[in-house]
């Protein structure tokens, strides 16, 4: 069966950022996203949340272009001040048209 090669952008960030990020991602061209709540540790140890270390993972499957846009956007706006991680990985998606 035919699947489309696309990018999945994964963002792991402080929970307070969720709503804003989701809005911005849609603005940059994401057609949807999957969200998981987890915890973690990195170099920056403090969050504005009562449960230390809890974070939210936002995944969105997008075209290469949109992936670049998103990575550029978050690097510019969030890396300096927030507990934040972002990476891109390759995925082969069923009915890929839906996501571009």
């Amino acid at each position: 069966m035919n699947s489309t090669p696309l990018k999945m952008v994964v963002i792991v960030a402080e929970p307070v950022l969720e709503t804003r990020l989701v809005t911005e991602l849609r603005g940059l061209g994401a057609t949807g996203f999957s969200i998981l709540e987890g915890r973690g540790e990195g170099t920056r140890h403090s969050h504005a949340t009562d449960v230390p270390g809890s974070n939210v993972r936002i995944e969105t499957i997008v075209s290469d272009e949109v992936a670049d846009l998103i990575m550029a956007h978050v690097s510019e706006h969030y890396f300096a001040n927030y507990s934040f991680m972002a990476y891109v990985t390759d995925v082969a998606v069923a009915r890929g048209a839906k996501y571009v």
């Binding site: 402080e14 307070v16 950022l17 804003r20 140890h45 403090s46 969050h47 504005a48 949340t49 009562d50 449960v51 230390p52 809890s54 300096a80 001040n81 927030y82």
Partner: protein
Amino acid sequence: MNEILRVNLLSPIALAFVLGVVARVIRSEFSLPKEIYQGLSIYLLWSLGLQGGVELAHATFDEIARPAVVTLLIGCITPISAYLTLRYFGRFGEADSAGIAAHYGSVSAVTFIAASTFVKGMGAEPEGFMPTLLTLLESPGIHIALAIGVMRSGSKTRPTSELLHEVFTGRTMVLLVGGLIVGFLIGEKNWSTIEPFYDTKGAIFRGALCLFMLEMGLLAGARLGDLKKVGPFLLAFGMIMPLVHGALGAWLGSLAGLSVGGATMLAAMAASASYIAAPPAVRMTLPDANPTYYLTLSLAITFPFNVLVGIPIYFKLAQMTQGVP
């Protein structure tokens, strides 16, 4: 005084909190499931609102007017006093000063509850409309402090509407204001059918509060390590600022005609620092304010200080200002 302190330190709430801290100190991994912790805080706020509403229905406008005014006054003074102290005595940056000030300008509902449990235990029944004052004090301080911060630090402002919406539709506001309205409307008869469950003097409420304080202790304990990061000035600030704001609250409260119990609670509100409403608002509006500062201050310094020793002091102050022997 010592007697009052001893009584307070041996209260279930205080001891449950201490136990939580100790558990963290001995590096126990125990903690309440996040959802249970949230459920408890929802229950506590909702009870507070409901009962406050029921009793509000008995209050006349005249009784509330002056206490309400001084409460709003406190909401305007405390963020500024905190900001100035940090900025000019502490030499902190704009963002940090304003960010921390937002916490001290707002209020901690649990400190409020601890205070009400304390004064009731002391037989100094507070006014029934205190929860109403709590809702008044929740947000002004946050907005004032953030406004200062945004104006003076270079930080890019976000739409104020967004911030207002955030603060006014937050958990605390929905449950407290909502509870007040519901409680106000249902009336005594309906209230009596649910009172034992929600009564803030009842065993269920107090029992739940103990469990909640246990988790609060765990959360505070988890931040003890950050105490050295905040440095001596903030350490002192976290205990002296509450005393100043507490004295102000006790004095203004008495002026406004509140009973000793009510004045003590207003003092505790003024002295307390928010750790639910303020942190996210500050995090989003002043990103370059260091969360370690404001979270450690409100959770690991000021909250324990108020619950363990502050409240009895404010009680004494209220007694003195009102010339009670």
